[in-house]
Amino acid sequence: MSEPDEPEDLEVAALQRLLDDAFETTRPRPGFEDELWTRMQATRPAGSRLRDAWLGLVQAIREAPAVPMAAVAAVLVVVIGAGALVYSGIGRGGAGSTATSGAAFGSEPFALSSPGAFGRLPAPGLARGNTDRPTTAAPQSATAGAAYTGPVALKWTGTLNLTISTAPVFRYHEPTTNTADQFATSLGAVLVSRPAGYLGSYQTTNYSVRVRGTVQSPAREPSYNILPISSTDIIDTAGGPADLALVFLGERSLAPTWQLTPEVVVSGDVAKVTLDRQFGVTGYGYAYLVDDSGARYGVEVDLQGNRPTSATGPMPLNLESAPYSIISADAAVQSVLASSPVPASGTPTATLTSAELVYSLVVAGDHSFYEPSFLFSGTYTVNGTTYVKRVLVPAVDPTQRSS
């Protein structure tokens, strides 16, 4: 900082330089900056965070120079990602920025590739038997009612407006044990063993961490599971379960860097927080990540009071993206109706009333993909019980799919 003011002697001058250096190099431990920022963000109402994300997006678009459309599209994808950071409570200080401080793991921004750069894509494995759940039970609840597995005819009465003709496809490389070890190290955990089916089992002073690679069926991306968490590990912050979950994750540099929507299920002093993952799609907005039954998912944090008891989420991995042509809204509707069985006597008919763009994981060996699909939803009734019907239709143009 400073040269000494009127130094009386060399010793004083030397001491002042030493003080300059001491103050210059005295800094909090790595990770503290982002943890604190996350805690501060968690004290804000969600609406306020969403507003900031939106303002950031608008501002970024205003500031974008006139460039060719392809470049604009590329910028918008990045901007949407940046907006997602803000809403996720991380802001510039989230895992995206901790990458620069070396405190975070695997959170590089999307690398953009040219259209169709990943070649022909594997088709999502969406065709399965019927397993529709009654509407009276929570869709992801363990106590959901019995599923209906019989044939269901489909009828479409909704409106699907779509103004985009391309959507990004995201790809990640399958992590190795070395990648998992690095991830665990970033949490402060040390390797204990490599159980079958896992990349590694790790331990910190407060909890154990298991990391596994991609699961083929049902398809799941590489993930971590943290448990049991020490009974003394209580989150001391204001806010609801979703804020507690974000703080807990943020303190471990695990706060999602992607756009999220929290879902909370509370039962007594126990709460399950699900941070549903979303992908930004230029010209469309955000599209949820869904499993092969069409249910949204992301990070799950279980809480008992203010104490997290377990957390499961996708391992942070670098994603590449490339735009792909997608089918039109009309083609999507035709496709879903074509999947309807020929109505027979007694076959219930589901009335599909809504449709949205979503993403689903397609497992493909060394690389796996998040591919866009259309999720059609509606209900039907059998023996007085109303069931939810979800149908997924791959969105990527068939000419760009391998099957």
Binding site: M1, Q16, L19, A22, F23, E24, T26, L36
Partner: protein, 168 residues
């Protein structure tokens, strides 16, 4: 957002380290310094809507909050506790025996000695070496710029004497 008021996050990123160092020089213990620093920025975050840049600089505003938070900490924990923690956190060679870390140990020792100075001297050194001008130091310590300079020089001399005494 007022035009002459930077986004809070810019302030946060720019000053977090400096505020932490300032607090650390006061309390000696890294865990206390983190707690107080967190409190400083939580308070500042809540109050930022009322911050008016024409009245003060962001640095002076943040350091005022930090100084108050540190004084609150001492009031709550007492001077005896502060001294105990300061002594407890005196760096020792075993903390990090590598030759590369020698400088860091020396800096930690120096910060611990700053923490043992009388309150105003400690404040003068910590504020000055956290990047504030003498004018800003004087405003925070409620004295003139010249008085702040004198206080600072006396503090550095006192620190030198402590260092020399401990070196003997």
């Amino acid at each position: 957002m007022v035009a002459d008021r930077p986004p809070f996050e810019d302030l946060y990123r720019a000053y977090l380290g400096r505020i932490y160092a300032y607090v650390r020089a006061q309390v000696g213990s890294p865990s206390d310094a983190e707690d107080i620093t967190a409190q400083v920025f939580m308070n500042a975050y809540q109050a930022y809507a009322r911050f008016e840049a024409r009245n003060t600089t962001p640095a002076a505003w943040l350091f005022r909050i930090a100084r108050n938070a540190t004084l609150d900490h001492f009031r709550a924990h007492g001077r005896r506790e502060r001294l105990r923690r300061t002594i407890e956190h005196q760096p020792v060679a075993e903390e990090d025996p590598s030759g590369v870390a020698e400088e860091r140990i020396q800096y930690r020792a120096l910060m611990a000695r700053v923490a043992q100075l009388p309150e105003r001297q400690r404040d003068a050194i910590a504020l000055r070496h956290s990047g504030l001008s003498f004018e800003e130091v004087g405003a925070l310590l409620k004295c003139t710029e010249d008085a702040a300079k004198m206080l600072y020089h006396r503090a550095v001399k006192a620190l030198r004497e402590v260092v020399e005494k401990e070196a003997v």
